[in-house]
């Protein structure tokens, strides 16, 4: 029993959201992935037509960095309107009584999302160079989004200096956890000394990486997980995508374990008209490692039970190898950019 099948409140809400007179939730299955959110695949019969949908709601104990489901729905809607490959947004429900908490409903898109599998099984995603180019083009579309007033209110003011703001944010998060991590402090301090001067500030995805995309045999089908999206330097997303910690079993394929940087950069540069500055990307790759370590530590402090508690405890341990990687990139006497 998962609370979705045979839920009269949910079916009533769906009738309104889908503008249908007869709605039945025929099946609900928890989808894998999403440590911060739960995703449920729903098969919904609406006036005789079967609709494959996904319901997303908060998982047990979220983390500070994560936006609300409502804000994320606004971001996905803006991305959809801008032609980004995202699941089509259907509706948002704020009423806790319908499904145990606010939730977003989107159309279900087929594809494989598990990062290590995408990297390992090279037949997935079609031609890898073409996939890299397409990911670059998609990222350019994200960076070109001009938020409407509602989304602008969600995002808040643009930071004057995204690089230094990111350093401050990471320190703030370490402090708020009471985490004493001299290794991360070293990496943060070295990054601070070499922080690039601000140039552009755009809407960034902030978790654009292998593992948050869906691919089928032909190529990209969707870009997922928008809960961290925020204003920043566009190179922040490029650094996050290329950071070694997100290449899984193929560290040699520097664009997300999928292809070389050249194809990814080419797709991005062509679609955005922006010149990619390798030293700026390099800086954001260092910060990507620091940020992932901080997020891993935050995950370890979330409340959970059973296997999920074990999973979160092991995720917190990931901070250690990621910190080591950040230290290698910020060795004493080395010009990190």
């Amino acid at each position: 029993m998962n609370g979705f099948v045979g839920n009269a409140s949910l079916e009533s809400w769906l009738r309104n959201a889908l503008k249908a007179s007869e709605v039945t939730v025929e099946r609900a299955e928890k989808l894998s992935g999403g440590a911060i959110q739960e995703s449920w695949g729903l098969d919904v019969r609406a006036d005789g037509t079967l609709l494959p949908l996904v319901l997303r709601r908060d998982a047990e104990g979220t983390i500070d960095a994560s936006r609300s489901r409502k804000d994320e729905h606004a971001l996905v809607s803006a991305a959809w309107a801008a032609g980004v490959a995202v699941p089509r947004p259907v509706a948002f429900c704020e009423d806790d009584s319908v499904a145990g908490g606010p939730f977003a409903l989107v159309e279900r898109v087929s594809g494989v999302g598990y990062g290590p599998k995408i990297v390992r099984e090279v037949k997935l995603g079609g031609d890898r160079a073409a996939l890299g180019q397409e990911l670059g083009r998609q990222l350019a579309r994200i960076h070109a989004i001009t938020p409407d007033p509602l989304l602008a209110a969600v995002l808040g003011p643009k930071p004057a200096d995204p690089a230094r703001s990111e350093i401050a944010l990471m320190r703030e998060r370490l402090d708020s956890m009471g985490a004493v991590r001299p290794g991360l402090e070293w990496a943060l301090r070295q990054a601070e000394r070499m922080a690039p001067a601000p140039v552009d500030v755009v809407l960034t995805h902030q978790d654009f990486r292998t593992g948050n995309i869906l691919v089928d045999d032909a190529g990209l089908t969707a870009i997922l997980d928008w809960e961290f999206a925020a204003w920043s330097d566009p190179m922040a997303d490029i650094g996050w995508f290329c950071a070694e910690c997100w290449r899984f079993s193929r560290p040699d394929l520097e664009a997300g374990g999928i292809c070389d940087r050249e194809h990814f950069y080419e797709g991005y540069a062509e679609a955005s008209g922006r010149v990619i500055d390798p030293s700026r990307v390099r800086w954001w790759e260092i910060v990507a490692h620091i940020r992932w370590a901080v997020i891993a530590l935050q995950q370890g402090r979330r409340r959970a039970s059973g296997a999920e508690a074990l999973n979160l405890a092991l995720t917190a341990r990931i901070a250690d190898p990621v910190e080591l990687a950040a230290l290698r990139m910020t060795a004493a006497g080395r010009n990190i950019a």
Binding site: R171, V180, R181, P182, G183, E185, W186, L188, R189, Q190, R193, A307, L310, N311, A313, L314, R317, I318, D320, P321, E323, L324, A325, L327, R328, A331, A332, G333
Partner: protein
């Protein structure tokens, strides 16, 4: 922690890994996750003393590093690197390079 106890933990994790493929539903995932946790705890116990020694050898406070008092401190960097390598090996032995393994982990990295 005796070597026998460490071997026992290693065997327990191996049994779970072997059993995992035949388990139904979420059982496979849970068994692999648990095996992973046992392996991590075993490595932590095996290198616990080395980890504590490496941590104690770091002469600087995090706040002083943040404040820029050690910006070009090569000796401090080396100690941070040593401690991080031990912790990284405990969490994921594959994350440590061959050189780091020789220098910082030694015999325990069997």
């Amino acid at each position: 922690m005796s070597q026998d106890a460490l071997d026992l933990l290693e065997s327990a994790a191996a049994v779970l890994r072997d059993a995992a493929p035949s388990l139904p539903g979420a059982g496979r995932y849970t068994a692999l996750l648990t095996a992973n946790a046992i392996d991590t705890a075993r490595r932590d116990l095996a290198l616990g003393q080395r980890s504590e020694t490496a941590r104690a050898a770091i002469p600087a406070e995090a706040a002083a590093i943040r404040a820029g008092h050690h910006d070009d401190d090569v000796a401090l960097y080396e100690k941070l690197h040593a401690y991080a390598a031990v912790r990284a090996w405990i969490a994921d032995p594959t994350s440590v390079s061959a050189d780091e393994r020789i220098v910082y982990i030694g015999e325990a990295s069997r």
